[in-house]
Amino acid sequence: MPNKRIKDGDRVLPGDRLGVIEEFIPGPGTFQDQDDIIYASVTGLVRIDMSERKIHIEAITRTPIFPQRNDIIIGEVQHVGKKAVIINIFQVSGNSCPIPYSGSIYIKNAAAGYVEQMRDLFRPGDIVIARVQKQVLGMARLSTVGPRLGVIHSLCSRCGHSLIHQNRRLTCSNCGNVEQRKLSKDYGKIYELMHADKSDSPTS
């Protein structure tokens, strides 16, 4: 259908031509090829935002679960570096993520204030809730700035028992060791956060 002009609400299939690059900014479900033409990459409805000149496809098929911009993810801290931590993402917007996917939090995006080093905020094994900022090279750039974002579960680095948040301190339930984290307001509610809906157990 090369001659037909695409309207908002049209049904399109993968490979359908949507317009040229001068007309729209391609969004999710679309792609631009070497020939500067925008095509659809999924089956769905065309959504055109003329005020921003953006076009995207609202998929009508199942969409593979995959962390995307502004999604809230839950993951485990895999590695803590000096300036960044690596997170293994296992839940995306309430659905368990079928693909092993990792993300990183850079020190600038970890907390609102000045942070000396990442060890003060995260430790390996912590369960973290974070927001996806963007995708870079098959990895998600995450942010934990915000009261609800941050660590929701952590273990004592000395004895391995869970840390409990009481009296504004993070204390080990076993040895009394006091630790420091970038805490989420929902610290300790890990079960509720992970099983909020139909998603199955993330640990498989």
Partner: protein
């Protein structure tokens, strides 16, 4: 030498120049395409092309096992083409044959360039193709049906892939060879094409064709591919209406009501409502 033998043995055309099944040289066999045939797969499709009956199921993107086969920057596409033991005249032995391995590979290579595999690093996308009944040109029909199943699974694609064979039998160039024409004939050229993009993704040649004949057959095939491509699009659009109706039943219509709305009054905004919960 071979060609004269075979033509003498089997008569491939009648007096009017029509083929054994009454087709013209550039005519396709009857075909039928369905989407969403399997309920447990992420995406599925079924094709009947001539006597071919083929099911395709797509799973994924999902976690890849064994892990060491994972590719750091893109997904691994795994295509498994299998023929049922009952799919051919003589019972096929159930072990995957050399031929099945080869066909799995060529179908994978025909589909791969059309997929955005780099969107799902370290994951696997599995395509299972089960041939229930085999006629000539099953690799082409499999490519066609697999690409529909992938679209049904919502995997981002650059376009649909369509396969048809062309060949030469009884001294004539023929589109969409049947099993007999393939076996008796002089050449068989399976072709898969991303028709919308005008790109070939599979071209094999078994037998002999001259340069001119090959060029001629590529011309002949365009019409046939276009027909199947239209059917692929049609069937995906239809399946798409079904899905919309399912959504319409389960969820209340959302507030967005601007430009859309020819005949179906179903909300499209299902993703937003699930996010907010």
């Amino acid at each position: 030498m071979n060609e004269t033998d075979s033509v003498d043995k089997v008569k491939l055309f009648d007096e009017k120049g029509l083929r054994l099944d009454g087709r013209r040289v550039d005519e396709l066999r009857p075909f039928k395409l369905e989407v969403g045939s399997l309920s447990r797969a992420d995406g599925s499709a079924y094709i009947e092309h001539g006597r071919n009956k083929i099911l395709a199921a797509v799973y994924g993107p999902r976690e890849l096992h064994p892990r060491h086969r994972a590719i750091a920057d893109r997904a691994l596409l795994r295509v498994t083409y299998r023929m049922g033991t009952f799919s051919v005249g003589e019972r096929k032995r159930p072990a995957p044959s050399r031929r099945e391995h080869e066909i799995s590979m060529v179908i994978r290579q025909a589909l791969e360039p059309m997929l955005f595999l780099e969107m799902y690093p370290r994951a696997a996308i599995d395509v299972f193709i089960q041939v229930l009944e085999a006629d000539g040109g099953s690799r082409c029909a499999s490519t066609t049906v697999a690409s529909v199943a992938l679209a049904n699974a919502g995997i981002p694609m650059r376009g649909l892939v369509t396969g048809v064979a062309v060949g030469k039998a009884g001294g004539k160039l023929l589109v969409d060879l049947s099993d007999l024409e393939d076996k008796v004939g002089e050449a068989d050229v399976p072709i898969a094409m991303a028709f919308g993009r005008g790109k070939y993704t599979l071209l094999q040649m078994d037998g002999k064709l001259s340069k001119d004949e090959l060029a001629k057959s590529l011309e002949m095939i365009e019409g046939a591919i276009e027909k199947i491509y239209e059917k692929q699009q049609h069937v995906l659009r239809e399946g798409f209406i079904q899905i919309r109706e399912e959504i319409g039943e389960s969820e209340e219509p959302s507030s967005e009501d601007e430009g859309d709305g020819p005949d179906t009054e179903i909300p499209g905004a299902d993703t937003e409502s699930t996010e907010s919960d």
